[in-house]
């Protein structure tokens, strides 16, 4: 056992930060910023420690903390970390500080109304840290009880961040986001309540064991098994989102302030995929297998229609949001294809490992590039607000359209370069991070369900189309619109937001082994035990 409860530290340090910020009433905005950033960086620092001690070859969770909590309900406080969790903890550690840097103006006191809550840097900082801690809790909890607490708690700070600091339509978008997601989660909660009644446990590992050996199907007889599965599925389907449960997403991402949008797409969108891999697939192998042909169709819907809907968007944030739907649908497609092919053909081992590796890489890589893209759009938004003498944050902030700019590359070559890098990473250019994950997903899906892979290539084409249109309209051509007058190049804070992400895109693209090394033994064992009861 570890002498230090490292994982608890990972989860609760940001919350401690939130509490500290809440209590220190009189501190200056500069101190607030420094404290927020420092506490958010704790995750990165601690995951450095974790990386150092982590053994990728051990297949069971590491750094486990397990204490009885509510004995009457057989609930344990149970944290643990494997390759999958580690990857996402790392991602959270990287994205949160970047998102905070992108929110630098929200952490500054320069806003006009001193009494409105949205002018309080402390509130912003502590909400963000609360959000970070909740997401980390989701990635580390191994017992449904507090996993669900973290899952739901993440909504509260997200709601306020969107509502108070978002664009003109933010209150409505935030409301829809929270109600829709809670609606999905409610079904999941009922499902787990039924599981608890039937099995008496809420521990993921134990439930997975029962799911694997068929006990669950026996205990939940008469269709209850399928109903419970559907309930849990619905919770994740809304969260990821799975097409067509995605309609909350474009509005939410578009209205959210830049930093929150970066976190939503970079980290929170991974919570759903994570849940599918950690919970849905192990606990419900048979129902998932049976539903897989239909679910593949829905995932393909996300891949294809998500990308095509993005072509139609003129609001840049909505466009990037749709691109997120498309990218995450690849992850789901891979998972469903694995489930679909389970037991159909024994020779699918390499395809299954490719599908899983691809999914995990895609989660990480999409986190980097989508967050970077939102940061770039955020910069464009700030410039537009500046040119129109509007506030650069809050409800007065103007939406950014495809037609607002022109020739930005002439005015701000560094912004153009970094945004171009993110775009090409996002459209899967080899040599950058996005390619490896997508290639492996396609490799896996092709081996398991070739037709689905062939249809999904349409998504690749449409993605290239809208991302290059974005690039062409905004960055190329003569200087026009907002760019016609002064257009400032990236300032140091914006550079600090984008440069680390850009560097990682290149590094992860050239050396995917750095990431796959963390989880390869894990997914190999998953691929080896792919049989239905």
């Amino acid at each position: 056992m570890n002498p230090l409860p490292l994982l608890s530290l990972v989860v609760f340090t940001p919350w401690l930060g939130a509490a500290v910020l809440a209590l220190l009433r009189g501190i200056s905005p500069a101190t607030t910023r420094a404290l927020t950033l420092a506490f958010s960086l704790s995750t990165l620092a601690l995951s450095g420690l974790l990386l150092f001690q982590f053994d990728p070859h051990s297949l069971s969770p590491q750094f486990v903390e397990r204490h009885p909590w509510i004995v009457a309900l057989n609930v344990h406080y149970h944290l643990g970390l494997d390759g999958l969790s580690l990857l996402l903890v790392l991602l959270t550690g990287l994205i949160t500080p970047a998102a905070l840097l992108a929110s630098w103006s929200h952490l500054s006191p320069s806003l006009p109304l001193p009494l409105s809550p949205s002018s309080s840097p402390r509130l912003f900082g502590s909400l963000f840290l609360l959000l970070q801690g909740a997401a980390l809790g989701v990635f580390l909890a191994l017992d449904f009880f507090h996993w669900f607490l973290f899952w739901e708690l993440s909504l509260v700070p997200a709601f306020f961040l969107i509502k108070l600091w978002g664009g003109p339509g933010a209150p409505r978008a935030a409301y829809q986001f929270v109600v829709y997601t809670i609606g999905g989660s409610a079904f999941m909660l009922v499902g787990f309540a039924a599981l608890f009644v039937a099995t008496g446990t809420l521990d993921f590992a134990q439930l997975a064991q029962l799911g694997r050996d068929g006990t669950l199907a026996v205990k939940l007889s008469g269709g209850a098994h399928e109903v419970v599965f559907l309930g849990v599925l619905l919770g994740f389907a809304v969260k990821v989102p799975l097409w067509p449960f995605h309609t909350w997403l474009p509005a939410t991402y578009a209205e959210a302030p830049t930093g929150a949008a970066m976190f939503l797409t970079g980290v929170m969108s991974k919570m759903g995929v994570y849940g599918c891999i950690r919970i849905l697939w192990p606990i419900f192998p048979t129902p998932l297998h049976n539903a897989a042909p239909w679910l593949i169709v829905l995932a393909l819907g996300g891949v294809v229609f998500g990308a095509f809907a993005a072509i139609k968007q003129t609001d840049l944030k909505r466009m990037v949001a749709y691109s997120s739907i498309n990218h995450l649908s690849y992850c789901l497609l891979a998972l469903f294809a694995v489930s679909y092919a389970t037991d159909r053909n024994v020779a699918t081992g390499p395809a299954v490992s490719a599908a899983f590796s691809g999914t995990l890489l895609q989660m990480f890589n999409h986190g980097l590039s989508a967050a970077a893209l939102f940061a770039c759009v955020g910069v464009l938004q700030t410039r537009k607000a500046h040119a129109l003498s509007l506030p650069s944050s809050g409800t007065g902030v103007p939406p950014v359209s495809l037609h607002d700019f022109g020739g930005v590359r002439t005015a701000a070559p560094i912004l153009a370069g970094l945004c171009g890098l993110s775009l090409f990473s996002s459209l899967g250019l080899p040599g950058l991070n996005g390619f490896v994950g997508e290639f492996l997903i396609f490799r896996g899906v092709f081996g398991l369900h070739p037709v689905a892979a062939a249809i999904a290539t349409l998504g690749l084409l449409a993605t290239a189309l809208f991302l290059l249109t974005f690039w062409q309209r905004v960055f190329h051509g003569p200087r026009a619109g907002v760019t016609a007058t002064a257009f400032a190049e990236l300032n140091p804070i914006e550079l600090a937001t984008l440069l680390p992400l850009a560097a990682l895109m290149v590094v992860c693209g050239l050396f995917p082994g750095l990431l796959t090394g963390l989880f390869n033994p894990l997914i190999t064992s998953w691929a080896d035990h792919l049989t239905l009861p």
Binding site: P244, I311, P430, F442, L460, H476, G477, P512, G513, T524
Partner: protein
């Protein structure tokens, strides 16, 4: 000098370093970046020469060096380098032609404010292209394939402030990506069936007997064997990259890039990558697949030459000529003569680079005027450019015996004639020969003869040595290279086929074809000269109509509009794309969004009903009761002196504590 395959990576790595230097140097570091780019490529050229001598020592060998990229499940994903004559010849050509074009660019791009960036992108291109050539893994080929696409995108759109250039760059990227999706699927299929993407791997590579045997015996899909399907999917990638029908539409637009780019990327090297790919995976290609390749190649050869007849833009004529020549190469692959295809690829690289640089020299001298109607009379003003351009044209046309294009085209015609498959490609190729001779004669006559028809052309004068020296060197090779592969001593083809012995035969064998193609060339030149070249036929005014336009105005206009392919695609794929996008968006907003909205309204409605029922029905009674209670309570509170809020607060806290104790179960 010999070179181990292990060190082959240095060839692409050097330009990559130059590109990195270019990226990190500020805009003012012009000479540093250009110098680094040229030095790197020259060094790569020397290493390529070493590689060539190694490969020629044992042409049948495929020297490889494979390494693990990352682990995947129980398997690993491996990449590697490959050295064989194909790689070595291509690398030598790319680095040599590339160096000359880099040097030419020093002069051509001199006044451009983004001079530094230009050399950075050129180096990036060279690195990706060379990586593609030395790759021993189809995955690595694909990676570099996409990267050359990126470099091409950046360079076509180099003058991105021009909307036409920005649009052309996007069009090129998207069009080639359509082909690349086929490539990707072929790659995945091959990966899935063979379990590896290494080309040569001690007997387990995808081009080696074990895998080929297994693929050959695999089941059929829709009447196609798996091997044919994979071959055709890979060919899709080549169709996109090499501007083959029906994806040729991007290549003429790519001429929006600076002319050295057109010479290097869109004539000599990148567009030939598709031909290279097909030659590389030739062992995989089944007769069915080859038949399709030959026919597509033949259509492209004919199509390009036909459209070129009615173009007025100097560079676009050359671009369509490139399309047509690439068709010839593809045709050669299809009729089973990959070595003839590569021979033509190599000679074409030299003479087409020469022609494009010559065109660049003209355009630079004529202040960026590239409409041939506005030029004229340059033969006296630019003697060196004119004479080298003439050599390039004769090589392209295939003027007999002394020009490289003649011999390489001859090899293709021979192979097409000897093929067991359809003879359509052969006849198409013959017609193409006439057309090629015709439109090139027209090009020469309009550009270099007669009077200068614009202010720009009048004041044109020869360029500096930095631009003309590459022309002279390329002109030398446009002649000399042909002698490496004459039927009498087909040294190049023998080495490419892995043979050490050269089996030549007398030129009198198959002399009929030799004579036939010479006659066809003569017919084409004669027709061109009659219509455009005779003194009284020479164009006098820029606005004078083309003789063909007078003879057949509608056909000429149709050809001038490139057979309306762009319009056709816009009306079909463009519309489908827009419809799909609109439908996706509409569904989201109104159908899925509507359903969600409906549920929200339902919730709101039931809430309202509930509330109304509560307020009006239930609460009516309660209100009365509670009013009484409130009055009583007020009376009590007035009577008492204690703080009711304080009591309530204690009560609440006590309740919470009790609840917590119960939940944690600690006390019980």
């Amino acid at each position: 000098m010999s070179l181990s395959a292990q060190y082959l990576w240095i060839i692409p790595a050097l330009p990559l370093v130059a590109a990195a230097i270019g990226a990190l140097t500020p805009r003012s570091g012009r000479s540093l970046v250009a110098g680094a780019a040229i030095v790197a490529l020259v060094l790569s050229f020397f290493i390529s020469c070493a590689a060539l001598s190694t490969a020629l020592a044992n042409p049948a060998a495929h020297l490889t060096h494979n390494f693990i990229w990352f682990e995947l499940g129980n398997d690993t994903v491996r990449l590697g380098w490959l050295l064989d004559p194909l790689t070595a010849f291509m690398c030598t050509m790319v680095t040599f032609v590339g160096t000359l074009i880099f040097v030419f660019s020093l002069g051509y791009m001199q006044g451009d404010e983004n001079f530094k960036q230009f050399f950075c992108f050129l180096s990036l291109f060279a690195a990706a292209m060379l990586g593609l050539l030395v790759a021993n893994s189809l995955l690595l080929v694909f990676i570099c394939w996409e990267l050359v696409g990126l470099a091409s995108y950046l360079l076509i759109g180099f003058w991105f402030h021009k909307p036409a250039a920005a649009a052309a760059a996007k069009k090129a990227f998207i069009t080639t990506r359509i082909g690349d999706l086929g490539f990707l699927l072929g790659l995945l299929w091959l990966y899935d069936s063979a379990g590896s993407l290494l080309l040569y791997d001690n007997g387990n590579g995808v081009l080696e007997a074990t895998v080929l045997g297994a693929l050959g015996s695999a089941a059929t899909v829709c009447g196609l064997s798996v091997a044919s399907a994979i071959g055709l999917l890979l060919f899709c990638g080549a169709v996109g990259k090499s501007g083959q029908f029906p994806l040729h539409v991007w290549l003429p637009d790519a001429m929006e890039g600076p002319t050295p780019v057109s010479a290097l990327i869109h004539a000599a090297t990148m567009v030939a990558a598709g031909v290279f790919l097909m030659a590389r995976v030739y062992p995989l290609l089944t007769p069915d697949a080859l038949q399709v390749i030959a026919i597509i190649g033949a259509i492209t050869a004919l199509l390009g030459a036909t459209i070129a007849v009615a173009q007025y833009d100097l560079k676009r004529i050359l671009a369509f000529s490139t399309v047509s020549q690439l068709g010839y190469m593809m045709l050669a692959i299809g009729v089973g003569a990959p070595s003839a295809a590569i021979f033509h690829l190599l000679t074409h690289a030299f003479f087409k680079a020469l022609l494009f640089l010559g065109a660049g020299s003209v355009i630079h001298a004529a202040h960026h005027e590239q409409d041939i109607r506005q030029l004229g009379g340059l033969s006296v003003k630019m003697k060196l450019t004119f004479s080298t351009f003439a050599i390039g044209t004769m090589a392209l046309v295939g003027v007999p015996l002394f020009f490289s294009g003649f011999w390489s085209k001859e090899a293709i015609l021979h192979a097409a004639h000897a093929t067991a498959g359809s003879h359509f490609p052969f006849y198409a190729a013959l017609v193409g020969v006439v057309l090629t001779a015709f439109y090139n004669t027209r090009l020469m006559a309009e550009t270099f003869f007669g009077h200068a028809r614009s202010h720009a052309a009048e004041h044109a004068h020869e360029n500096s040595a930095v631009m003309t020296t590459p022309l002279v060197i390329l002109a030398f090779f446009a002649i000399a290279l042909g002698f490496l592969g004459t039927p009498a001593y087909p040294w190049l083809q023998a080495r490419l086929s892995g043979e050490t012995a050269v089996h030549g035969h007398s030129l009198l064998d198959g002399v009929g074809l030799l004579v036939l193609s010479s006659v066809l060339v003569a017919v084409g030149i004669g027709a061109g000269f009659t219509l455009y070249g005779r003194t009284r036929r020479l164009r006098t005014k820029a606005t004078a109509p083309d003789p063909l336009a007078i003879a057949a105005p509608r056909t000429h206009a149709f050809l001038g509009d490139r057979l309306k392919f762009d319009e056709l695609y816009a009306a079909t794929f463009g519309v489908v794309n827009t419809l799909l996008a609109t439908a996706s968006d509409w569904f989201d907003r109104y159908v899925w969004g509507g359903i969600v909205h409906f549920f929200a309204l339902l919730g709101e409605f039931s809430g309202t009903v509930n509330r109304e029922a509560d307020e009006q029905g239930l609460n009516g009674g309660f209100d009365a009761t509670s009013e009484t209670l409130r009055a009583t309570g007020q009376a009590y509170s007035r009577a008492q002196t204690g703080d009711a809020h304080g009591y309530l607060r204690f009560l609440a806290i006590g309740f919470v504590v009790l609840a917590l104790v119960a939940m944690l179960g600690g006390v019980a």
